[in-house]
């Protein structure tokens, strides 16, 4: 991995394997097209413009998948009158990746109003993606009627009755969680007792060296409670994952990228493929944010994730649609 140029940041001041300064710089760059690679616990950030010079070995992992989120099929207001077109642009972006993903994760708000034709629309568009397998978790917009029956009937096969499930790919353990049901007045997202009990059992016998990827709609860390951007009982879920050396949490819901690293856990939220939302506190409410039409695709995006066996954490790379 050698070269130490001015674009690489290698800081480990606390000698705990967490590169906080690098992380902060990475956060600032995230909006302008940077990517961060964590290798052996040390965070390195590179600008996208240097991509061509990168050692391919650093980029290509043994497992590659893409996260998309918040397609909101059915939304047609000013912030984006054509969410189908931008979802198609996201598929085009996926299909242009140099390492084709093996599958897609959709972290919810697939539909805008839980309508069958909206779910159909998304499934139809995703059929053109190079990756044929799509794993879904619901957003609050997907479970509006009959306690989410429409979503569960369509996407819940093989899952627990509440819609949560897990699977393995190349030795990486994936857990899809549902934190958008039974929301209480004044509350945040919630996992609930049954799901937490299931999660505890699900990971109990895994070796601590197993990389874990958890995906759920609402962030599993408290991004901004005033806007409901958090999950009330996520601490309990994270406690069950404490023993693992590498945990990657992928969320949606907030329609912008955000990252946080806490010990062995990397939290990451994805852009929407439909419309952006304001940064925490920068608007009176978290609703759809209008941008000039020519800028729309630059604030929508996908997330490419690569796992290299032997490396501690997964490489999570965001890219915008334009």
């Amino acid at each position: 991995m050698g070269r130490n140029t001015k674009d690489e940041i290698l800081h480990d001041h606390n000698h705990d394997g967490v590169d906080r300064r690098g992380f902060l710089k990475c956060m600032a760059w995230a909006g302008t097209g940077a990517f961060c690679v964590m290798q052996g616990g040390v965070l390195k950030s590179y600008s996208m413009s240097r991509l061509a010079e990168m050692n391919p070995r650093d980029m290509i992992g043994e497992l590659s998948f893409v996260q998309i989120s918040d397609s909101h099929m059915g939304f047609n207001k000013a912030a984006n009158p054509d969410v189908a077109a931008t979802l198609q642009a996201a598929v085009a972006k996926i299909n242009s990746l140099s390492t084709p993903p093996e599958f897609l994760l959709h972290t919810g708000d697939i539909s805008h109003l839980s309508k069958p034709e909206e779910f159909d629309g998304v499934e139809q568009i995703l059929k053109s993606a190079s990756a044929k397998d799509v794993f879904y978790v619901p957003g609050e917009h997907d479970v509006l009627n009959d306690d989410g029956k429409g979503y569960l009937d369509r996407f819940g096969k093989g899952a627990q009755p509440g819609g949560w499930y897990s699977f393995e790919k190349k030795g990486v353990h994936f857990v899809g969680l549902v934190n958008v049901m039974n929301l209480k007045a004044g509350g945040l997202g919630t996992l609930g007792h049954d799901q937490l009990e299931w999660l505890e059992k699900d990971v109990k016998h895994l070796k601590s060296s197993t990389p874990i990827v958890v995906f759920a709609h609402i962030p599993l860390w408290t991004v901004y409670p005033d806007w409901g951007w958090g999950t009330e009982d996520s601490a309990q879920a994270l406690a069950y994952l404490k023993k693992f050396g590498s945990v990657t949490v992928l969320n949606g819901h907030i329609h912008q990228t955000m990252q946080k690293v806490e010990g062995n856990v990397t939290f990451h939220t994805a852009c929407s493929t439909a419309f952006p939302q304001p940064k925490p506190g920068e608007a009176p409410s978290p609703g759809p944010m209008k941008v000039p039409a020519e800028q729309l695709r630059s604030v929508l995006g996908i997330t490419d994730v690569n796992y290299v066996r032997g490396q501690n954490a997964l490489a999570v790379v965001d890219s915008t649609l334009a």
Partner: protein, 119 residues
């Protein structure tokens, strides 16, 4: 007092009294016909119920109208009323027939809360 005067006074008083009662009835009846049923409106916009707390009289019909560009719902925390999903410009109405406090929230965005106080 002379009996005739007494009777006259009694009659006068009775007539006045009855007249008063009749007048009261008349105005009551007139009032019931003239006064319209009470209504109140809550606008939903920018992830806020506005006004968040309203006070109304028994028998008032409250109508919520969604002016936001995102769908919302109106759900009583005690499960006494529940709207369907309201997209932009859709409405939900509920008539409050008993006094009390009725907290509610949006089940899609639970941080949105409101209250109807019925007196």
């Amino acid at each position: 007092m002379r009996r005739s005067v007494f009777i006259a006074s009694l009659t006068a008083l009775t007539v006045m009294g009855l007249g008063g009662i009749v007048a009261e009835h008349k105005s009551f009846a007139a009032g019931a016909q003239e006064k319209p049923a009470s209504t109140a409106e809550v606008k939903i916009d920018n992830f806020v119920f506005g006004p968040a707390a309203i006070t109304v009289t028994v028998g008032t019909t409250v109508t919520w109208i969604n002016r936001d560009d995102i769908p919302h719902t109106v759900v009583s925390t005690e499960k006494l009323f529940k709207s369907k999903v309201l997209d932009t410009d859709e409405k939900f109405s509920f008539t409050f027939t008993k006094p009390g406090e009725y907290p509610y929230f949006c089940s899609i965005h639970p941080k949105m809360t409101g209250k109807v106080v019925v007196q």
